[in-house]
């Protein structure tokens, strides 16, 4: 399966391991991702905080690029980029005036023919759990996972809508397919405050603490996510969150692609499992998964 792929700014940087593990998983599943030539930042997560025109124009530029090279879908692994692209795509398709405006600003001629999609959606729908399961060589037995979707993947429903906004399932089914055990917990889509990760660390710590506590209470021994923001937040800010909650969490935060990759038999290094703040490997070693 071929897709035009929008990497976004993080997957080269803070989410490096997400980028490489995604590549690994795609290879394993025979997904062909061709990077959108000449892509630019979609504006997340600040453009829409400062200027509506900007929030509109930046994503449309990329949508227009994709359309120009004949793509009907634009896949991204970053939940944040996905949401911005999806919101704007929906906006211009429902309000012709918005489309005109966007085209004026970008100098492009976007017709509205591109549907942004998230990697998770592609794995869940296009590839399908069965084909994922078929590829598993090292089932992640004993791993108790809290699937954390974050707020960006499933909201707003009218723009995203590939899964339920309160109790989504796509990631759960994939993780189960990888042989791990998923815990039922209430904060799957509770926000962790990523947009303040630098500006208001105190707030972030508070929000992250809430999420992590619920995961722990539900008996998870790690979280899995499909969003660089969530990841860097829960991973990098976990110690701080623990201080706020006056407890220790020690919950490794994995990317969905890392867990899948692991179950497909990749080596930890090939999946960037070595570059986490909260050590990612000890748990896996304990469970004899690496």
């Amino acid at each position: 399966m071929k897709y035009v792929y929008y990497p976004g700014c993080s997957l080269g940087g803070t989410a490096r391991e997400y980028g490489i593990s995604a590549r690994a998983v795609n290879d394993a599943l025979g997904l062909e991702f061709q990077e959108l030539a000449d892509w630019s930042c979609c504006g997340a997560s600040s453009a829409h905080m400062t200027n509506l025109d900007l929030a509109l124009a930046l994503p449309v530029r990329n949508l227009a690029l994709a359309e120009a090279q004949g793509a009907r879908e634009l896949v991204t692994a970053c939940a944040s980029c996905y949401q911005r692209l999806a919101i704007v795509a929906h906006e211009v398709n429902t309000h012709p005036r918005a489309r005109e405006r966007a085209n004026q600003l970008t100098g492009a001629d976007y017709k509205g023919g591109v549907t942004p999609r998230h990697l998770l959606d592609v794995l869940g729908k296009d590839v399908g759990v069965d084909r994922v399961a078929a590829r598993v060589t090292r089932p992640l037995e004993g791993l108790k996972v809290a699937c954390y979707y974050g707020c960006l993947l499933v909201r707003p429903v009218k723009a995203t809508g590939f899964d339920d906004p309160e109790d989504p399932q796509t990631m759960d089914t994939l993780v189960k397919a990888a042989g791990a055990q998923v815990v039922t917990w209430p904060f799957k889509t509770e926000c962790c405050g990523a947009s303040f990760s630098m500006s208001r660390t105190d707030v972030v710590a508070g929000m992250a603490a809430a999420v992590l506590s619920e995961a722990k209470a539900a008996g998870a021994d790690c979280l899995v996510t499909a969003c660089p923001m969530c990841h860097s937040n829960l991973d990098m800010r976990q110690s701080m969150a623990a201080r706020v909650a006056r407890t220790t969490f020690n919950l490794p935060i994995y990317y969905i692609t890392q867990l899948l990759g692991l179950s497909f038999g990749y080596m930890p290094r090939q999946l960037g499992l070595n570059s986490h703040f909260v050590k990612a490997l000890p748990l896996l070693r304990r469970l004899r998964l690496v």
Partner: protein, 203 residues
Amino acid sequence: MLSIKGKRGDAVVRTITLSALEPGRTRLQGEVEAMGGTNVRRCYQCGKCSGGCPASFAMEAQPRQVMRMVQLGDREGALATNTIWLCASCLACTTRCPREVEIAGVMEALRIISRRERRVPSDRNVALFHDIFVDAIRRRGRLNEFELAMRYKLASRNLFADIAQGISMMLRGKLALIPHKYRGRAQVQAIFRRIKEAEVKRS
């Protein structure tokens, strides 16, 4: 065993002379609706938004209360709260609102209004971060997170706050130091230019 979670926002206690505010469908409502595309008058103050807001513990006013201020046309109040800056746009409120009010959209609108009116943002750091973020995009067309981080820390004068993370990130190769260079940059800058022109025309 009712436990109150988080601290109450310590909003300044004010007496508002309602008759001094605009009556009926206020101008503020109009502006907000124009941008947020939602009818704030529909809000009946049930509080479902705030009850589910993950950031509300840090807010001076509950999101619901901000809706109220907009309904009353209490411009000063609405733009003074840090609430509008501490909204993480997670849309839990919008998704759950029984009156289909796009609360997060309203917050977004208020932030932008506060900018237009060149007000001192009620949470300088958040605002500052967004400015630097957007400026970074303007400069390069793509975001260089390391550059963003460093510039933000310089500007917010807390260079040493989680510098540790910064360095360990670098060690983990997580902060790409090489700035992107590519054609898209020019086009993105063109977008910024057109927007500026539009703004100039408007004012």
